[in-house]
């Protein structure tokens, strides 16, 4: 809800300027009633400080998708490294373009309780006028970076076995049919989960449960890799995994801190919680690793950090740092044991997107309903520990609805793409690796035995 465009600033409840907050809320109501933004331009002013922080946060969130590419790329075998990393990078293009064309409007247009409208399609009316205290187009771009990484997150479930064209088609449709409506539900003042007062500061449900459910459905529809369960499939570059985890943590400061939509107390709270929650997860994860893997593993450390980041995402602007550490510590358990179970099961959610993002997001969202306090964020709700047990139920409804919708719609989209174009390459091609098959490149070409084909030769062959 912190993302909510019209209430974003008014939602910063510690602001002493109550009258200003009321004025902003009123302008928000006017916005809902009018297609244009003329009123908003007069009602609010752009803050240089807020804008500076959101410019940086947008860049930080954008970097997360590159970090994710390294995180995922290191976890796969060397024959699939480019394909895996490209699944993240291609989202910059397709998910980014579609966000500007229609995605933003579908997510943040007034519309109804379930989806936005086309009022801001092609960025119509999205200019430099204030949205809260930052330029409207900056808010749009910040949200666009979220749409990009959410689509990219799903790819971890289907690596090494999906035609690239089918994947691109899938995430393009997914961004409009699944991501945009779910963002609307939770973050638009008119959305039905917003109306229920569900708390999701930076996207525990919208980004992580959403991607986790999509990943689970995608892994089930695609089925396991040909050699899954028969051959050991090892990470080919664990340093990449650690680099990716580090970049994700760095970018997540803008993901959670920027979700305050201002350089204020809530941004500070979000950044502090984003530092300490994953720290607590890493400690617990390490102890679990000592018990069950006999060593503190590097892949485990990277995974634990990501789980902690996911878990604190919905809570970041609603809970105290001590509560954030509790959330991070508790979140390690379900994700750790589901990863252990998953590795021995027939479910080839290859990089455990469901366990890390789906389960981590679920745990974090429920615990937000336990630890949230209006003492820190008056625009939020009190949780179970602060005398409001109902919030846990609301959180459960929110993540449950997102989970079911994303899971079902992901399966439907994939079935349609399957019927039209097919999803998987031949198994022999899959064994040779997706890099050469899908991209005509190798991640680590040695150049040994690479003989240059002359242009005449190439043209001659083409003619035959």
């Amino acid at each position: 809800m912190a993302h909510t465009i019209r209430l974003g600033r008014a939602g910063a409840g510690l602001m002493p300027l109550l009258s200003g907050a009321i004025r902003l809320a009123l302008s928000g109501l006017l916005l809902l009633a009018t297609p244009g933004f003329a009123f908003a331009q007069e009602a609010a002013a752009i803050s240089g400080g807020d804008t500076a922080w959101m410019l940086i946060s947008t860049a930080l969130v954008l970097l997360m998708t590159a970090g994710l590419a390294f995180f995922y790329g290191g976890l796969v075998s060397s024959k699939n490294v480019l394909n895996t990393m490209m699944m993240s990078f291609i989202a910059f293009g397709f998910s980014g373009v579609l966000w500007a064309l229609v995605g933003y409007s579908l997510a943040f247009g007034a519309g109804n309780a379930f989806v936005g409208d086309f009022s801001m399609a092609l960025l119509g009316g999205v200019g430099t006028e204030p949205s809260g205290t930052i330029p409207h187009m900056l808010f749009m771009a910040y949200q666009g970076a979220f749409a990009i990484i959410t689509a990219a997150l799903i790819s971890g479930a289907i690596i090494g076995r999906m035609k690239f064209g089918a994947y691109v088609t899938f995430i393009s449709i997914w961004g409009l049919v699944v991501y945009a409506p779910v963002a609307h539900w939770v973050w638009n003042t008119g959305g039905w989960l917003f109306g229920l007062s569900a708390l999701d500061f930076a996207g525990g449900a919208v980004v992580h449960v959403n991607a986790g459910a999509g990943a689970l459905a995608a892994a089930l529809v695609l089925g396991p890799r040909t050699d899954y369960g028969r051959q050991a499939m090892l990470p080919h570059n664990v340093p990449f995994v650690l680099l990716g985890a580090g970049l994700l943590w760095f970018g997540w400061m803008g993901f959670n801190g920027g979700s305050a939509l201002a350089a204020n107390e809530l941004a500070a709270l979000g950044v502090v919680n984003t530092l300490f929650a994953p720290a607590a997860t890493l400690v617990v994860w390490s102890l679990l690793d000592v018990m069950f893997a006999k060593h503190i593993t590097a892949v485990g450390a990277a995974t634990g950090i990501v789980v902690g980041l996911v878990a604190v995402t919905p809570a970041a602007g609603f809970v105290s740092p001590m509560s954030a550490m509790a959330i991070g510590a508790i979140a390690a358990f379900p994700s750790y044991f589901i990863i252990r179970w998953r590795a021995r099961s027939g479910l080839d959610d290859s990089l455990d997107v469901f366990a890390a993002h789906g389960v981590g997001g679920f745990t974090g969202a429920i615990l937000t309903g336990v630890f949230a306090t209006t003492a820190l964020n008056a625009a939020g709700q009190d949780g179970l520990l602060y005398g409001n047990p109902r919030q846990v139920l609301i959180q459960f409804i929110a993540v449950g609805a997102v989970f079911v919708y994303s899971g079902v719609m992901t399966a439907v989209i994939l079935k349609v793409v399957q019927a039209v174009a097919g999803l998987r390459p031949e198994s022999d091609a899959e064994r040779r690796g997706m890099d050469v098959l899908a991209h005509g490149e190798e991640g680590y070409a040695t150049g040994d035995g690479a003989v240059l084909i002359l242009h005449e030769e190439l043209n001659g062959n083409a003619a035959k």
Partner: protein, 117 residues
């Protein structure tokens, strides 16, 4: 003339090279290989998936030597590469039909005799 082919632990390579140098054996080729002797298999864990590493990193040293150097080279490798644990490796001594030095077209013993510097 013999071809001495020694399979050793990678961490012993520098010791072996030093021993061969001290034994005045010159001219060798080193390759990184993987193999399996009788050693205990190491177990690694990746996100709850345990794998047994059935192949172990080894280094192969190949040395073409004239008869007077065979015993010296074998002894040098043997002493330098030994730890006493399973997995120290093997030394094979193979007969050679002919040796040619590409640069000068010298043959056999002349081809494996180091160039006087």
């Amino acid at each position: 003339m013999k071809l001495i082919k020694a399979i050793i632990r990678p961490e012993k390579l520098n010791d072996v090279l030093k021993a061969l140098y001290q034994a005045e054996v010159r001219g060798l080729t080193v390759s990184r290989v993987q193999g399996h002797g009788g050693e205990t298999e190491a177990v690694e864990t990746y996100r709850g998936m345990s794998v047994k590493m059935a192949l172990v990193e080894k280094v192969v040293i190949e040395i073409g030597v004239s008869e007077p150097f065979v015993d010296a080279a074998v002894k040098a490798v043997m002493n330098a590469a030994r730890t006493g644990e399973v997995g120290d490796g093997k030394i094979f001594v193979l007969p050679i039909d002919a040796v040619h030095r590409i640069r000068t077209a010298e043959k056999d013993v002349a081809a494996v005799t180091p160039v006087a510097s």
